[in-house]
C-alpha cells in the first residue's frame, strides 16, 4: 500500500513533464524555420582566383571554413518586443551570404545569447562566448546599460567589439577602448538634427522634453540643447524604463503649455506618452527619436496597451504625424535598391518576422560586418578587423557616411527628417549631417547614396 503511493508521485511528475514537453514541441514546430545559429553550409567553390593563399585559422574563432561571432541580445524580458527581431534578421543576412559563397569562402556562424536586458546576465553570456566558445568578435551587442557591463572586459581581452546596437556616445573612446565601435547614428548627432528642424519649423512655440533618464536620453538632450534656444524649452520631464507610470510627467508637460514635445524614448514609452496624452486631452506635435519611433512596432504597442486598459484604438491613426528621423532608407521606398535587397533576403530567410525597422536594422548592420570582414583580408587577425574599420568603411545602406577613423569610432553621421503617415515613415527633405561637438553645424548632405550591389554581398 505504502509502496504504491510512493510510486504514484513520481508518476504524476513524469506526466507533468511530458505535458510540458509536448507543449514546448508544438510551439517549436510552428516556428522552426529560423534557426538560432545560422550556419548553413556554403559553397566554398567560389574562392576567387585573385588571391589564392590557402585559408588558415588566422585568429580565435576563425578556421579554414568558418568565422564564429557572438552577441548578447534581449530575446526575453522588457526590451524584447521589437528588439528581439534584430539578431534573427542579422542571422538571415549571414545565411544569405553563406549560401552565396560566404566571406572569402568561409561561412559565418552567428551565436547570439539571451541576456534579458540584465547587465549581470550580459556579463555571464559574453564571458561564455569569449572564454568558452572562442568567438572571433562580439557583434551588435544590444543595449547601453547591458553593453557597458562588458565593454572593458572585451577591450582587456582584445576581442573586437564591433557595431554596438546603441547610439550612446560612450562607444567612441578610441584611446581607452580601441576595440569598441558604434554603428547607428549616435544620440548627440540625432538630437542636433532633430533640434535644428524643430527650432526652424516651430519657431516661437513652447517646447517640452520627455526623455529616458540615462545616457541615451541625456545624450539626446545634449544635442537638442545645442540647437534649440533655452528660452523655448518650457518643461524637461524624464522617465526610467522600470517605472511605467508616466502620467505625472505628461501632466507636467501639459501644465507647462508645451506645444511641441520632443521624446527620446524606447518604443514602449513613446506609446505610453501618446496614450497618457490622449487621456489628458493633450495633443502636442510629437517629435520622437529614431529608436523609439518604428511605426509598425509603435502601432502594435499602442493597440496592445490600450487593450490592456480596456480601450480600442487604431495604432496607425495615433502614430500619424509623428516627426522623427531615419539613417536607413524608409521601409516604404520599394524602389530603393537596399530595401529591395533586404526585403528579398527577409522573405527568404526570416519571413516569420514582420519586415519592420528592427529587421532592416539587423540586416543592414550585418551587411556592414561583412564589408569590414572582406576588408580585413583573406586570413584576418583580430587586429586586422580593427585596422580595416579604422581606415574607414564605404557608406553601404546608410544615408550618410560613417565617421570611422583611428580617432573616431562613431558610426553613421547623418539622417533625414521623416513624418509617419498611414503607418509608414515618409522622408521629408534632404539628409543632414553633423558632428558630435556642441559647435559643429548641421549641414545638408550633398553626396550621393550608394546603390546595393546586385549580388547582395559587398565588394571586397
Amino acid at each position: 500500500m505504502k509502496r504504491s503511493h510512493r510510486l504514484r508521485v513520481p508518476a504524476i511528475a513524469v506526466v507533468a513533464t511530458a505535458a510540458l514537453a509536448v507543449a514546448a514541441c508544438s510551439s517549436s514546430s510552428s516556428t522552426s524555420s529560423s534557426p538560432g545559429t545560422s550556419s548553413s553550409p556554403g559553397t566554398s567553390s567560389s574562392t576567387s582566383g585573385s588571391s589564392s593563399a590557402p585559408l588558415t585559422a588566422s585568429a580565435p574563432g576563425i578556421t579554414a571554413t568558418t568565422i564564429t561571432i557572438g552577441s548578447h541580445q534581449p530575446l526575453t524580458g522588457p526590451a524584447a518586443p521589437g528588439y528581439s527581431e534584430i539578431a534573427p534578421a542579422s542571422a538571415a543576412y549571414f545565411a544569405y551570404v553563406n549560401a552565396n559563397g560566404g566571406v572569402d569562402g568561409r561561412t559565418i556562424t552567428y551565436k547570439y545569447l539571451d541576456d534579458a536586458y540584465n547587465p549581470t546576465q550580459t556579463a555571464s553570456v559574453v564571458r561564455q562566448l569569449v572564454l568558452q566558445d572562442n568567438v572571433y568578435s562580439i557583434f551588435d551587442g544590444l543595449g547601453t546599460p547591458t553593453h557597458l557591463a562588458v565593454e572593458s572586459f572585451l577591450n582587456a581581452q582584445k576581442v573586437p567589439d564591433v557595431f554596438v546596437a546603441s547610439g550612446c556616445d560612450c562607444w567612441n573612446q578610441p584611446a581607452a577602448d580601441p576595440d569598441t565601435f558604434g554603428w547607428q547614428l549616435d544620440y548627440i548627432r540625432e538630437g542636433k538634427i532633430l533640434g535644428q528642424y524643430v527650432a526652424k519649423h516651430f519657431a516661437g512655440k513652447k517646447i517640452g522634453y520627455f526623455y529616458q533618464d540615462d545616457e541615451f536620453g541625456m545624450d539626446g538632450v545634449k544635442g537638442l540643447d545645442d540647437e534649440i534656444p533655452k528660452s523655448m524649452v518650457v518643461a524637461r520631464q524624464t522617465y526610467v524604463p522600470t517605472n511605467t507610470n508616466v502620467g505625472p510627467a505628461v501632466a507636467a508637460l501639459r501644465a507647462a503649455g508645451a506645444q511641441v514635445v520632443i521624446s527620446f524614448s524606447i518604443p514602449a514609452f513613446t506609446a505610453l506618452l501618446k496614450l497618457n496624452s490622449l487621456k489628458l486631452g493633450f495633443s502636442p506635435t510629437l517629435v520622437v527619436s529614431n529608436v523609439g519611433s518604428d511605426a509598425i512596432t509603435l502601432s502594435g504597442l499602442l493597440e496592445s496597451f490600450a487593450k490592456q486598459g480596456g480601450a480600442t484604438v487604431n495604432g496607425n491613426q495615433l502614430t500619424a504625424g509623428i516627426i522623427t528621423d531615419g539613417y536607413l532608407p524608409t521601409l516604404g521606398d520599394t524602389s530603393n535598391s537596399w530595401i529591395a535587397l533586404f526585403k528579398k533576403i527577409h522573405d527568404q530567410y526570416d519571413a516569420k518576422a514582420p519586415f519592420d525597422g528592427n529587421v532592416l536594422y539587423g540586416e543592414a548592420v550585418a551587411y556592414t560586418f561583412v564589408q569590414a570582414m572582406l576588408k580585413a583580408g583573406r586570413n584576418p587577425t583580430r587586429a586586422d578587423l580593427l585596422n580595416a574599420i579604422n581606415a574607414g568603411l564605404p557608406q553601404g545602406p546608410a544615408v550618410a557616411p560613417y565617421a570611422y577613423a583611428s580617432t573616431d569610432h562613431d558610426g553613421v553621421t547623418g539622417a533625414y527628417i521623416g513624418i509617419i503617415t498611414n503607418g509608414a515613415l515618409v522622408q521629408q527633405g534632404p539628409v543632414y549631417t553633423t558632428d558630435a561637438s556642441a559647435t559643429g553645424a548641421v549641414t545638408t548632405y550633398t553626396g550621393a547614396e550608394e546603390q546595393a550591389p546586385a549580388s547582395g554581398i559587398p565588394a571586397p
Partner: protein
Amino acid sequence: MTMRPLPRILGAALVGAALVAVLSMKLNAFRDYQIAEIAVDVTAVAGLTVLTGLSGQISLGNGAFMAIGAYTTALLLLHLGWPFIAVLVIAAAVTAVAGAIVGVAAARLHGPYLAGATLMLGVALPSLANAYPGIFGGDQGLNVVYSAPGFLGVNFPLTRWQAWVCSAVAIVTLVLLANLARSRVGRNWRAVRDDEVAAALAGVNVARARVLAFVVSATCAGMAGALLAVITGLVAPGAFTITLSIALLTAVVIGGLGSLFGAIWGSLVIVLLPTYATDVATSHGLSTTVASNIPVAAYGVVLILVMLIFPQGIQGGALWLLRLLWNKKEGTQ
C-alpha cells in the same frame, strides 16, 4: 558517524576547497567564471536558507541586500581604492546594519505580511540608484575594476582568481553558518520556528532571535553582492531586480529548505541549468523564440519535479536515496 561536528564541518570544507582548486585548474576560463558565479549564489542562498529554514521567516528582498553589498563595494573601490578583503568586511557590516533595521520591522510580521514587506524592499531599493544618479550612476551603474594580485604573474587567468576568492568566501560562510546552526543560536531559531509561545516560555527572546536571523541572512547576501560586483565588473540596478530575490528563494527550495548542502545544489541548478538548456536548445536548431524560452521552461520543469518527487529538495532526496541504499545493505546482512 560519531565524529564531533566541528571536525566534520572543517573536513567537508577542506574537501570542498580541494575540489574547487582542482576543478578551477582543469576546466576552461568560462567554467572558472561559472564556479565564481555558483560561489556567489551559494553565499547568498546559504544565508536565506538559514533564515527561512531555521528561523521560519521568509524574505523576498535578499536581492536588495545583495545590491547594498554590491554598491558599498563599488563605491569603496571606486573612491577609496581599499584592498578587497577590507571592502568585503565593510560591505558585510553595512548590510548587517540594513538587515537589523529590516529585521526589527520584520520581527513583528508573519507569513504573507512579511513576504509583502520584504517584496517591497526588493522592488523599491534598487530604484534608489535611479533617484540619486550622481552617487550611484543611475541606470548605467558603476564600473568596478578588480584584477588578480601581482604575485600570481601576468598570465594567471583572472577568472580562476575570481573562482578562488568567491569559493573561499562561500566556504568560510558555510562553515560559520554550520556552526551557528548547531549552537544555542541555531537551537533558539528552531524553537522559535516550531512554536513561538513555547520558545518564549522556555526563556528564548523570540524577537531577538528573529532579528538576529535577519542580520545573518542579510550579511551573507551583502557579501554575495560584494563578490558579484567584482566578478561582473559592473553594479547596476538591472542586476538586482525582484527576479534575483525570487531566484535565490527558488534555489533554497530546490536545494532543500534549511540545508546548507542544499544551498550548494540549488546554486548549481540556477547557474548551470540556463546555460545548459540554451546550449541544448540552440544545438538542436530550434527557432529563436522557442530556444530563448527553453531555459525558463526547464527551470519550471525542474521546480515541479523537485517539488513532486523530493518535497525536501535535492538534499532531502539525496539523503532519502542514501538511506534507502543503507537499509538495503543492512537488510541483506
